[in-house]
């Protein structure tokens, strides 16, 4: 931990980590819910059954609030590239700027023009145009996720660049940059996780209404849609997308993989650790419970694959917070496994027709909704802590990327400002959403 205290970029990192983690609480639900709303609006168009329209309207209200919070907390992210990471922007702005500009031009214009129509214009637009607006918003939100992940993937595994004479980077191939394998795999993994968040939220509300004995017809729809998508998405997060992601880390960031697993010694038939506490000072894992050969198999496909431990790498390329990285990764994996089990059990009970009467299970489904948020946040911590000490892997160190002209005092000031403002925004959001939930889906009311 001592490296942390002496790290000149420390406050910049804390501020970025805080604002991005908080921000991402909202877009993941936006991206997860969007296609449910599209689905219900489509069913409403096809069948003219009022229950679909009612569900779409209700979730659009939640969606709108969530979207608004996502927009306003997203704005600081765009600014912070310039304000806090000026050296990084000078070094690689003409590359990562491409996707940031594309996000604005291709995704945000689409989303922002149509979200107003979605929230305000049901009467004015008529059902068909309103349905198209919902498709546009959903597409826009996924597109924006894609462009951001291409940007992040460049930082994880830089491709399509060349070194300019003045020592900065320049883009040599847009197609290589956009086609970055890391981006596509991370995008699939991330979008499946967003669907997990969305389906758990919908399931939880269905469980809540069922337990209270209100809105029975709606609750049944939510439980059905939520558990089906929830199971499919939970499985897809782990396999194939999570598996492919881990293999990428093994291939391009082997030192990160070693740190994620708390492995100090290289070995063939490397164990995968289920529980254990990394002890960086003594370079070992305390109290490990491990599956023999598991890591070799998961990372490289064969039980006798050679897995390199941290000791094979120079100390100054180790991620600088191995403990946090290790726990983030392991808790994420544990939660992901529990999600699959829970959703499989819920689907089985639903198939037997017992889900609505199984109060114990409904309680678990209700209380489960925060955990996908925790899992996604931990996943991003794994990704970003694992990238350290690099800002752009192998090209620019985080300690060289921050704004030299900005004093720590300035950053601490703005960090405090963000903490205070976001605390209030969080209260406001919870109040408004809880209020909508208690109002419930209303019959016949126009949004």
């Amino acid at each position: 931990m001592t490296e942390y205290v002496n790290n000149p970029a420390l406050w910049h990192r804390i501020q970025f980590a805080f604002t991005i983690t908080y921000h991402y609480l909202f877009p993941q639900l936006t991206m997860g819910l969007a296609w449910f709303i599209v689905f219900w609006k489509w069913k409403a168009l096809r069948t003219a059954e009022p229950r679909y329209e009612q569900a779409a309207r209700f979730w659009t209200r939640i969606f709108g609030l969530n979207f608004a919070l996502g927009v306003v907390t997203g704005l600081p992210m765009e600014f912070q590239f310039g304000t806090n990471w000026a050296s990084f922007s000078r070094f690689s702005g003409n590359i990562i700027g491409q996707t940031l500009a594309m996000e604005g031009m291709f995704a945000f214009f689409l989303e922002s023009a149509l979200i107003g129509a979605l929230i305000w214009g049901e009467k004015r637009l008529g059902p068909r145009a309103h349905f198209i607006a919902s498709v546009g918003v959903a597409t826009g939100s996924w597109l924006s996720g894609f462009f951001i992940l291409v940007t992040n993937a460049f930082m994880q595994r830089p491709v399509g660049y060349a070194l300019a004479p003045d020592g900065t980077l320049t883009l040599s191939s847009l197609s290589a940059y956009l086609g970055n394998q890391w981006a596509w795999i991370q995008f699939s993994h991330n979008q499946c996780a967003a669907l997990v968040t969305g389906s758990f939220a919908i399931t939880a509300l269905g469980a809540f209404y069922t337990l209270r004995g209100v809105h029975a017809e709606q609750a049944k729809m939510y439980l059905r849609a939520g558990t089906i998508v929830g199971l499919a998405a939970s499985v897809a997060v782990a396999f194939p997308t999570g598996d492919a992601q881990a293999k990428l880390v093994g291939e391009f960031q082997p030192v990160t993989l070693a740190a994620m697993e708390g492995r100090f010694e290289s070995a063939t038939h490397a164990d995968v650790v289920l529980i254990g506490q990394p002890n960086v000072k003594e370079q070992r894992l305390d109290n490990p419970i491990a599956l023999p050969g598991g890591l070799s198999f998961l990372a490289y496909g064969k039980f006798d694959s050679y897995v390199r431990g941290l000791n094979e790498f120079p100390r100054d390329t180790w991620p600088d917070n191995i403990e946090l990285l290790y726990y983030a990764f392991h808790i994420m994996i544990t939660l992901g496994t529990l999600f699959i089990l829970l959703m499989a059990y819920a689907n089985w009970q639903r198939w037997r027709g017992r889900l609505e009467s199984h109060r114990g299970l409904l309680w678990v489904l209700l209380l489960a909704f925060p955990f996908p948020y925790i899992a996604t946040s931990l996943g991003w911590m794994t990704s970003e802590l694992g990238r350290q000490p690099w800002l752009i892997y192998g090209l620019l160190r985080t300690s060289d990327g921050y704004s030299k002209v900005v004093s720590d005092g300035d950053v601490v000031f703005t960090l405090i400002g963000f903490v205070a403002l976001y605390f209030v925004l969080g209260l406001l959001f919870l109040y408004l959403v809880v209020r909508e939930i208690f109002h419930g889906p209303r019959e016949g009311a126009h949004a």
């Binding site: 209200r61 709108g64 609030l65 608004a68 919070l69 927009v71 306003v72 704005l75 765009e78 600014f79 590239f81 310039g82 304000t83 806090n84 000026a86 050296s87 922007s89 000078r90 702005g93 003409n94 990562i96 700027g97 491409q98 940031l100 500009a101 594309m102 996000e103 604005g104 031009m105 291709f106 945000f108 214009f109 922002s112 023009a113 149509l114 107003g116 129509a117 929230i119 305000w120 214009g121 009467k123 004015r124 145009a129 546009g136 300019a164 320049t170 883009l171 040599s172 704004s403 002209v405 900005v406 300035d410 000031f413 703005t414 400002g417 925004l425 406001l428 408004l432 209020r435 949004a447």
Partner: protein, 349 residues
Amino acid sequence: MVLVWYGIVAFMLSTYIVLDGRNFGVGMVQWLVARERAERRQVVAAIGPMWLWHEVWLVSSGGVLFVAFPRLLASAFSGYYLAMFLIVWSAILRGISIEVGGHVDDGMWQSFWDAVLFLSSVLLAVLFGAALGNVIRGVPLHEDGTFHMAFFTNFKPYGDVGLLDWYTVSVALFSVLALAAHGATYLAQKTEGPVHDRAARLSRQLWTLALPAFLLVSFLTWRVRPELLGGLTGRPLAWLGILFCTGCAGALAYALHRRQEQRAFVSATVLLQGIVVTGAIALYPVMLWSTLDRGDTLTADKVSAPHQSLVTATVWWPLAAVLAVVYCSSIVRFYRGKVGPSRDGQGLY
């Protein structure tokens, strides 16, 4: 290539200023044109479904600046560090106040968010005005292309300047006045009932004040940055810009006089954008003056991205721009017509 991208940035930023400027203006004059709760909702509903894509012009301008002039973005954003975050926080509060103000049908709730809307709108108009003033006046740029600036030093626009001095403050005040006039003009053509009558009266009054204020600010600009005058007089394109702005101002005055509200609003929009673009033409190729040493001034060539990156961006940008215009114009078309005082048709705003 650099010139093309200078033009694109100028076009996008000026578009942002006129589009979102009207929302700042509406936020600022809300309490002047709306007396009752229902009228205030009507005012918010007049911008509710639209403000977001206006703000996206800012985000996208930032993205384009990032691609084309990464060094300028890095220097300016880190140099204006605290001011940037004041803008961000005000923008957050402004967005939230529009989105949640109508969610709860309660007088105190709505008054609170209307007050937040007013304060954040004023702050945004002041900050963007001061930022414009800073671009014209220049900042204490060092040899390595960075600067770090206090909020205020001795309030003089020379040498070791701060964010605020008598020049940038006057530009900020002018920006408040002009955007308030712009917002009132927008409300006059978008609303019905008593709000409309008050907005129409207010827009005539504010524009009457704005003209002499503009002349005064122009005079101050000439004192602070005489080079701009050279840029204006030496370029045929700038002459065209001046001619165009004069025409727009004439059209605005005529439309206001004849109570043609739609035309007045269009003229006001084009006029404001024309002024900003003409200023950009006069500035070129300077992007940020140095108040310390003329040699450290950041020009477009000095801060632009490598040629290859600009060419790449030129491939996809036109397509994206066409799509953006399609989305924006369809929502404008959907949203045409007037906003009445009844809650019906105001959606959740």
